[in-house]
């Protein structure tokens, strides 16, 4: 177990290093730079800027400087587009917003998805199954911004229940959380349904029923664990994605989260912020996958960690 964790942590470190190197090479090979758009910049000023961000050094020095800063001090450097902010600041400010929204969305997605999936599987081919699975297909197919517009029209303008946008109170999180969580709820519902149907057709479920156990106990005690395995493996990457925010949802509801940085850092050639976002996401993703593996071992006694 300890050995497993140590091994995995080493792997996470290696993954981060590989991602760092790949991102660095990609960014330095893409034409343009962070200060390309500033017009009428005198060569002296320009040089000062480049110095400030260590962009005047040769590439291999930039690489080693950045890597040592990262490894020794967790320092991702200064943001090039959001001046006066370090990348660490940007993440420290945006992540709590995105994460709160993400946790809300996740709870919503799990509650709805698991319930819908179980109802669908247990009353297979009933009207409920058809209705819920159609809804799930819709949830996967419908883009965030369409759902957001519909919800805003209905629940902000027609029936003024929720505030339209902003950050600070719980009510302001409800609509964006629903929009962000809907496709995840749909995936979870479908995975739960398939997983549960698969398990319910197993021999050991017949054994449980032959023992005279009530249907509820057969499902909850004998079937659910196994049925959740596919959901758990989906949750790893899903959580990493959902916690780091969504550009569209955060834009529509004017939330100061991380989502927009993923896109903007790249388009503005903000090398340090882009690198920060990529590494942060990678770290989150690999950690989540590690947690998934631990959860697997906990759920399924046949899984051995090594």
């Amino acid at each position: 177990m300890i050995l497993f964790l140590v091994k995995r942590l080493i792997w996470i470190g290696l993954t981060l290093w590989a991602v760092f190197t790949a991102s660095f090479l990609l960014m330095s090979s893409v034409p343009g730079g962070p200060f390309q758009s500033e017009r009428n910049m005198s060569p002296e000023v320009r040089l000062r800027w480049l110095e400030r961000y260590d962009l005047d050094a040769p590439l291999h020095e930039q690489y080693t400087n950045q890597l040592t800063g990262l490894v020794t001090r967790f320092d991702l450097g200064l943001s090039m587009s959001l001046q006066d902010f370090t990348v660490n600041d940007v993440i420290a400010q945006g992540f709590p917003v995105s994460a709160s929204l993400g946790i809300f969305a996740l709870v919503f997605a799990l509650a709805l998805g698991l319930a819908a999936g179980m109802v669908s599987a247990l009353w297979r081919q009933s009207i409920w199954d058809v209705a819920l699975m159609s809804l799930a297909t819709l949830g996967i197919a419908l883009p965030n911004f369409v759902l957001a517009s519909v919800l805003i029209l209905l629940l902000v303008f027609k029936l003024p229940i929720f505030p339209s946008a902003g950050w600070g109170s719980l009510e302001q999180l409800v609509l964006p959380a629903i929009c962000l969580g809907a496709p995840f709820a749909a995936y979870i519902a479908r995975l739960t349904r398939t997983g549960l149907l698969e398990i319910l057709s197993q021999d050991f479920i017949r054994t449980a029923r032959a023992k005279g156990l009530p249907a509820r106990r057969v499902v909850l005690r004998h079937a659910l664990r196994g049925a959740l395995l596919p959901v758990v493996s989906f949750l790893g990457p899903a959580i990493a994605g959902i916690l780091t925010g969504s550009l569209v949802v955060e834009r529509i509801f004017a939330l100061p989260g991380l989502g927009s940085h993923f896109i903007e850092a790249a388009t503005q050639r903000d090398y340090s912020l882009a690198m920060g976002m990529v590494l942060f996401y990678t770290a989150l993703l690999t950690t989540m996958n590690l947690l998934v593996d631990l959860a697997y071992a906990w759920l399924d006694p046949r899984v051995k960690l090594d």
Partner: protein, 341 residues
Amino acid sequence: MNERSGTDRPLLAVENLQVQFRTDEGIVQAVDGISFTIAAGETLGIVGESGSGKSVTNLALMGLIPQPPGKVVAGQARFQGEDLLGMSPAALAKIRGNRIAMIFQDPMTSLNPFLTVAQQMTEVTELHLGFSRRQALDHAVAMLERVGIADAGRRIFGYPHEFSGGMRQRVMIAMALSCKPDLLIADEPTTALDVTIQAQILEMMQQLQREEGTAIIMITHDLGVVAKLCHRVNVMYAGRFVEKAPVERLFAQPRHPYTLGLLESLPRLDGQGSNRLTAISGSPPDLAQLPDGCAFRPRCPYAIERCASETPTLVDQENGNRAACLIDVTTSPRVAETKRP
């Protein structure tokens, strides 16, 4: 032949059981009007090829047929005076695992891989006998010891994948017998096991039966198992019983061509019959497209023209067997034999 049955009221009396499945090819009559009885403490063998309906019969009695597509369309099954097929699911659940227990073919998949043996065994007695957790655990350990699992007090907390196939089947049997059922339905309990393990398991079942007086319905395609364990045998083909006889007479004097075919496909050590093993030609019938008349006719070496139009029913034979055949296999020639390559 069998003194145990007949005198007092049978433990279970099945009357005209019919089970259908809805499939893509239409309605399939998986079990077509079978009747049988079993007395307390008796062992009844139900023999037949895969797909002959022997498992479906017993799943139907236990209310374990997936519905849809399956459906019990007719029949009665009186178990200690109550009709299993007519009772509510809740009432049937009280009998299942308690008065009637079941063990299945594949011990590798029949135990829940996510729960410990202790969890799976104790829930039966807690549910049916109202045992406390402690009582249930002690009882489960005692049962495991009885089926020959060494160090049961420790091993009970293991998971099924930590047991071998034979050990798992012992666990299944211990679990099935833990409420002292009156009837044990064993659906090919040894088919998935090594031959040496098979013998041990059968031996153990016999011993437990002697100690507990449990009646056993042994579903199998293995005539060796039948010979070892059963008092009476019902041979099943295409959803019907084609021959019923006490075990000694079934082996010595079969009266249905299918039974005869099964026996001729077995090696014999007593020198009777020819030394060549013969297979039954053809393959088991497609239940969705049964021929008119006798379902065994296309494979039957004795078939005559009447077999294509008349469906034979079980009738008493001169030796006391009951067989569903129009001809007398002791005197009739094998018509089709010469045609076969």
